[in-house]
Symmetry: C2
Subunit: 387 residues, 2 copies
């Protein structure tokens, strides 16, 4: 909070409530919150007992119809809201689900979280979100929080194996999202990275590219490893040479990717196509091409993995692999719901999201290609689906 901020005590935009009783001289301790009505109060208001009130509210057990109505009305009248903490304590199970992700600022995770939250909310759960910023410590801390609040399940995009293991060791059902810790048996929802990478690479090969550089930040997880595998499989299937120097390692930040691409282009001017393995890397690659003044796709083509909004806004739009992130999130949530309901007891389920390819303007035949472009070069954005 720098000097950008300016404090004021009162805003002209906000009118004082016309309620003199609200006035409290500064310095007085804050009013202790009015005690919330408990089920005792509700029972009294409905002229019955707490247990009957409880039954009326929950629908478990017998309650005379008229009594139920009385209780419901009373609840409405006195503004009764059941205490979830007490309920959780008593029931030893909550309607809370922990969501442990890496970076809400990254549209991939934001969309994932949105899909999860949407589905879980409609199933009557609420969501505790912890961002771990890619840090193992924060991730473990998040897992500890989930244990402490007795979440009934957790959805994790793992950074390390510790958090997932902690949760599983404590009997918390875990759904791993996007990637899975090797050797831990939990439910999971993964993207078919191999297939996605393979199909988009095939698209490039079909256009005539033979020197396709892969920009990638990790191959330890199924995400990176799968994308690398798919890329290789496509090359192999097409009988193309596998030049190890064209697999370009980088750190995950756009800046790192930008530098890596700039260096690559200087080193290997023969490269006609760049495949960025994540949306962040694609961002850096795109910037490197733009700053380097490379014409896309005439001089060099670009494809990405993971469709994020800017890719359909730029011109040319970026051809990419759509992971259906929203669907990924909803599927995770559904797995959680099924697991809690016990309908998936006895086995773990790993679902795969089948990605699809979105072809935009950033891919074309390689420069010097004698193959006429089969696909007419579209005007900006016209091949893009609506974002």
């Amino acid at each position: 909070m720098g000097s950008r901020n300016r404090d004021i005590q009162w805003s002209a935009m906000v009118r004082r409530r016309e309620d003199g009783a609200e006035h409290r001289p500064s310095g007085t301790p804050p009013p202790k919150p009015r005690r919330r009505p408990t089920i005792q109060d509700l029972a009294r208001a409905a002229a019955t007992s707490p247990s009957t009130a409880s039954r009326a509210l929950s629908g478990n057990g017998y309650v005379a119809a008229d009594v139920r109505v009385r209780v419901l009305e009373a609840a409405e009248r006195i503004g009764y809201v059941p205490d979830i903490n007490a309920r959780t304590l008593r029931n030893r199970t909550s309607r809370a689900v922990g969501v442990l992700i890496s970076d809400l600022r990254n549209p991939f995770y934001a969309t994932l979280a949105a899909g999860i939250e949407q589905r879980l909310r409609s199933a009557g759960y609420h969501v505790i979100v912890v961002n771990n910023d890619g840090e193992e410590e924060a991730e473990v801390e998040g897992a500890r929080t989930f244990l402490a609040v007795r979440v009934s399940a957790a959805i994790v995009t793992p950074v390390s194996e510790r958090a997932v293991r902690m949760l599983m060791d404590d009997g918390v059902p875990v759904v791993q999202a996007d990637r899975m810790v090797d050797g831990l048996t939990s439910d999971g929802v993964l993207v078919d990275n191999v297939q996605g990478a393979r199909r988009i690479t095939e698209h490039l090969i079909g256009l005539g590219h033979t020197r396709i550089a892969l920009l990638i930040d990790e191959t330890d997880w199924t995400t990176g490893a799968g994308r690398l595998d798919g890329y290789r499989a496509a090359l192999r299937a097409a009988g193309l040479p596998m030049d190890p120097a064209l697999v370009v390692p980088t750190r995950f930040q756009p800046e790192a990717a930008r530098e890596a691409v700039t260096a690559l282009l200087a080193r290997r001017p023969d490269v006609t196509e760049l495949f960025a393995a994540t949306n962040m890397l694609a961002e850096g690659a795109f910037q490197a091409l733009q700053r380097g003044g490379r014409r896309v796709p005439e001089e060099i083509s670009l494809v990405a993995f993971d469709d994020v909004p800017w890719m359909s806004m730029v011109s040319p739009g970026v051809t990419t692999v759509d992971q259906h992130t929203d669907d990924l999130g909803r599927t995770c949530a559904q797995l959680v719901v099924d697991r809690i309901a016990g309908s998936s007891a006895g086995h773990t389920t790993v679902k795969y999201i089948e990605p699809s390819i979105i072809i935009r303007g950033s891919t074309g035949p390689p420069r010097g290609s004698t193959v006429p472009a089969a696909r007419p070069e579209p005007g900006p954005l016209t091949t893009s689906p609506p974002s």
Copy 2:
């Protein structure tokens, strides 16, 4: 979940844990989670009483140094994790904060949530996120959830006044973010919309624009009203005519904005500059210009309010008002922390985030302008700060 998904029971990528005891024939009910150690167990393990163990952990009250050590060690050893529900029930106060926002898929809200979560987590709170999708019902439902879990405070980007009122009526401290419900006295963090809109409009006027259209989706909240005011104030100060037909109402979706812009351009070919009041509207406006084949900024300039990633990726980059959304989020969180600590007792605080202007390539002198461009037209992106 459509045909894109394919279920499998087992993934080659995930190895079975080498733990035969884990095997459970399908159909067997899930193992009841091993009872978690309670403070009783901890006391036993540390050869003391629960009360002493409690004091040792919390630091409240006297505990002999050696006993404290014993308790802490035992806690570590047996994997004791205090039950937050029990603690909340007993203490009548939790470390949970509710965050009620409109749309996690919109980078504005995602960034806001990220800033909030980050700051609150480091202050020892955890966050319950509810997305309301702009729906009053969902918002009220979210507020009810917050009441039920006894959050110690809530941060809300209000959609209606009901949710905020419900929370406040129950004594839950509320920080309203980005916009405030008129007539409710809570803490809040707002952006100085008037100033931001005014300054960016002045920038345009300085370039020589006189027919500046404002694309706006609402003027009921301080956000829209403020941006409209700032726009008008700048025109007025410059002695420019105020053409009501240049204030173009639209719904908030990019598609709506796209159509509105297309219609406007047909109707008013004399417009030289478009000011989109939100990032969503800017998206639609940008697309409309691109599809319409308008050269930006030569034929028409574009500015936005709220900086989101695509604006620095496209060429030309979009000149916009940076709301410092991350800071906005952190400031909300800080207000919550202060409020809970009681350090702000006795008054409400409304903070203002002072936005700043990011000038990119989408703004230039109006067509036919005789004023030479003072600012050399930069190459793509070179005026953009790193995204």
